[in-house]
Symmetry: none
């Protein structure tokens, strides 16, 4: 009502920004303490407010994780879709997907950790059916790249692509658990070394 309240900071945009802030805080806490064993009060403490106050912004604890994961998955798939739409050969597609994965981790580290740790459990709830869908689609995408690579003669045919998929997936995503943005190695440097290792092995030739 006062002129001040007309500021861009006091409109719907400001509200969305506050939501995003709170979600970032919640994601940190869920990632470090685990979703199930984090209390709403712990999230509120981290956000500098009281437990009940969070309910002005969110319906429930569940809707917080929901939004955290949805935002992350949407962003991740946008990046992946751009790669697959680029029409690269199998080897370059593989490289780019790996690189994009590490960049996504860089942007959404806490969300990735939550995704890794809680997906299986949350997916039993219909509300989170999209997690299972995403996983299925994810697997299909990677297997298609790997199988194409084998056909193109660039990837070894004596390895089980199902196994390669699993090992690749696990290592890449688990990196979110130890990766620190301010650490010794950048996301791109980690991706580079990771690819050197996976593609050519750790043994001297």
């Amino acid at each position: 009502m006062s002129p001040r309240r007309r500021d861009s900071e006091s409109t719907a945009a400001a509200r969305a920004e506050r939501r995003a802030e709170l979600l970032a805080t919640a994601a940190e806490v869920f990632a470090s303490r685990g979703y199930a064993s984090t209390t709403v009060r712990e999230v509120a403490d981290a956000a500098g407010m009281l437990g009940g106050s969070l309910y002005y912004h969110f319906d429930s604890k569940e809707s917080m994780v929901d939004e955290i994961l949805s935002v992350f998955l949407t962003d991740m798939w946008a990046a992946y879709d751009a790669v697959t739409a680029a029409g690269l050969d199998a080897r370059e597609t593989f490289r780019s997907l790996i690189a994009e994965s590490f960049r996504t981790i860089d942007r959404h580290r806490p969300a990735v950790v939550i995704y890794q740790n809680e997906s299986k459990h949350l997916a039993t709830n219909p509300r989170f059916a999209y997690l299972t869908d995403s996983q299925r689609r994810f697997r299909a995408m990677w297997l298609s790249v790997l199988d194409r690579g084998v056909m193109e003669g660039v990837f070894r045919a004596d390895l089980d692509t199902g196994l390669i998929y699993r090992f690749t997936r696990d290592t890449v995503w688990l990196a979110a658990s130890w990766y620190r943005r301010d650490g010794r190695l950048s996301a791109d440097e980690i991706a580079r070394q990771y690819m050197a290792m996976v593609l050519d092995g750790i043994v001297t030739t």
Copy 2:
């Protein structure tokens, strides 16, 4: 049926056996539902008894995970110690450690899953300080093998051994999440393919 059997079935041996049975059941449930979100009643249901009855055998929910993890770690280190005591070169030590890891997973799959998922959270409790200790020792052991391998010229020197350690650790242990004893591939076959991949890479040469 034999007289011997009847003896062992009563007394302390029978009691220990019952404990072990119940712990195996609890481990399955904790592994599949997550420790924090598993209720004592779910464990009891799975064991075919009422919630309170578990407390005849165990002090608390916490002491169940404690025993599950301790037993697993003890067994794992026995296997690792046997390998490192064998005086093999770096490459063979690496191979053997990987193989032992998959065999340990084969014997203690649920415990490994719990270890992966809950360690970080449980370790904040002094009672579980041994988890942190074990992790430290684990890291030291793997780094020593990798560094030795680089010095012996068998492992590439252009890769960060810290990174190799992490990637190796993650893939090996995460296998516990999807490995099934009755699946298509045996533990040893998985270990074989895994090493082929890690040692020589997935690219054709």
Copy 3:
């Protein structure tokens, strides 16, 4: 059935003796830990058996206190009745009642402690109505002696006999909480000093 079982130790007398032993043990434990917060298992531990085994001898935890208190009260009233039947004057009756009280404490210390601590709470249970009855009768007896003493001119008339009764009762019975049979002072010596104090005061004359 065997000749051995014919021993006097294996008849009803032996059974009663075992009961008495167990009750003595239970009384000790109830007295030191409090009835409500003592578990049946603690009693059993103290008796060198398992929790369930006590139920061969007693119907319930409640029936244990019941028997402990009944036995004690019966014995105490026998002593009191002997005193009041002796036809002594007020002062001598008072002295004798005090002396008998300390002797009863000497014989039933744990029961007296239980009586002091748990009576009020137990008395809400109809089964223990006799506790209230006993207390009423107790009060009447003491007040009659005190009032008689005032009338006979041996006790001061300027003090409220209700108060004297309470103070006397409290000190005497609370002595059970600290009195030890093997302590520095015998029950009779304590009674003597106690009477010197109550009758003549602690001030020099």
Copy 4:
């Protein structure tokens, strides 16, 4: 109603006041039913709320008794310390301590009852070590007054001061069990009669 009042009613002051109210309620219930056999729900009922709601204000049932007893002991020692700091002779110090004891009972009757009934049991818990400390200090204070009185020739030398201490302590504090603020006798009147009795005895001279 005054503006000042409205201020104090909100914020931390109001919270402290509510705590105090709830503690007073809890103390009544613990005193009348016994700490161990009082359920949190009974306390909540008496306070007009549900069981869980108490945990908004207090950590645990234990922390309730803790606060009840601490507050009481702090207040009691403030009164005692004022007396001992006044430099009175033994007889007057004794009189004043007795009088303060009855006044403390008047202010903290339920807390005193709890203290009497539960101290021994609670003191086994390290959290309540201060109960033992207080008791020790209490004993030292009384004995010092009594011994000084004997030396000054005002108290009889033929009585064991240890016994006098115990009898005095017991009678005074047990008064909390039957004393009612709205009863026939005021705290000071009870103290007066009590001292007449203890100092000069109940026998006519």
